[in-house]
């Protein structure tokens, strides 16, 4: 995948397939520690420990449509080639948390990319599911919680295309501000707003 935001979309879709009602996405960029952390937590059905051990193996999958599962394997490969790794914490009934780490400045690290498009796609395609997005960058942060939005926008269908378009615009603007707020570090790679694949 060309952008980490596409990996995020993919991992979140796993959570939705697992019957999650709330999915929490965290992105933490720490320049001082030269570390990027991405975590996706869902409150879906989880999985047995025996499955977790070998989860990044492409031949381990719960699916029935094909015999290989690539989502986590691809994320693990992306993290490992940037001196990072993935960690999966799961138990039946308590949901699943996938955490991926990267060396922030690693030459092979894909850009985060268009997070607004990922969130817009998720909100529009999954009306019953709630999403929390928390993005921290060197002490500053941006948070979006669709439960808050639904409360504030009472009576408005959050998944309708017009609303999602507005939301995506706001997310793009906010993330741009987040990135530009702290000087030139990493501005170039994570500031791409409109570009999509």
């Amino acid at each position: 995948m060309r952008e980490l935001s596409l990996h995020i979309l993919d991992i979140v879709e796993n959570g939705i397939t697992a019957g999650a009602r709330v999915i929490t996405i965290r992105v933490e960029e720490a320049s001082a520690a030269d570390r990027l952390l991405i975590s996706v937590h869902d409150d879906g059905r989880g999985m047995p420990p025996r499955k977790v051990v070998d989860i990044a193996n492409p031949f381990v999958t719960t699916r029935t449509t094909r015999r290989v599962g690539l989502g986590l394997s691809l994320l693990a490969a992306a993290a490992r080639r940037c001196e990072g790794d993935i960690h999966v914490k799961a138990a039946p009934g308590t949901g699943t948390e996938v955490t991926a780490t990267f060396r922030l400045s690693h030459i092979d690290r894909a850009p985060l990319g268009d997070m607004a498009a990922t969130l817009g796609t998720l909100i529009m395609g999954n009306p019953p599911v709630d999403f929390v997005y928390n993005h921290r960058l060197d002490g500053r942060e941006f948070t979006l919680d669709t439960r808050d939005l639904k409360r504030e926008l009472e009576g408005v269908d959050l998944s309708s295309p017009a609303v999602v378009s507005h939301l995506m615009e706001l997310i793009r603007r906010s993330l741009k501000e987040l990135v530009s707020g702290g000087g030139p570090t990493h501005t170039k790679e994570s500031a791409n707003g409109q570009a999509d694949d």
Binding site: E13, G69, G155, H166, L167
Partner: protein, 122 residues
């Protein structure tokens, strides 16, 4: 900056209340964008975003968009399934934003199946 402001939300609400007020009743068309790993890697997200723009522009209340997982036809991704009430569902293959716009305007709005892009009837 830490959160979307109340003003932002109010503005969204004002701009969209009208558009979404009528959003009820049965859907006449269901559009499924397949979002497995294969679909996402092949470009399903830009397809979804193009569809969103078309939907916002058409402002039709009887069309539903959903995402789903892989259908097992990974080599033809991105796949999009269009189900118009009382007709056979059509699976489109190798979609991109432009093909999505054409399928939306022709098939979804006018009922003309775009056989050039179709993979199969279900």
């Amino acid at each position: 900056m830490a959160k979307l402001t109340i003003e932002d939300l109010k503005r969204i609400k004002e701009q969209t209340t009208k558009a979404t007020a009528l959003r009820q009743g049965e859907a006449r068309v269901k559009i499924t964008v397949h979002m497995g790993t294969c679909g996402i890697a092949a470009g399903a997200r830009p397809v979804m975003n193009a569809l969103m723009e078309e939907m916002a522009e058409a402002d039709r209340q009887d069309i539903r968009v959903v995402t789903s997982g892989c259908m097992g036809m990974c080599s033809s991704e991105p796949n999009v399934t269009v189900e118009v009430l009382d007709t056979e569902p059509i699976v489109y293959q190798h979609m991109d934003p432009n093909r999505m716009r054409q399928v939306f305007r022709r098939h979804v709005l006018l009922g003309e199946v775009q056989t050039d892009f179709a993979l199969a009837k279900i």
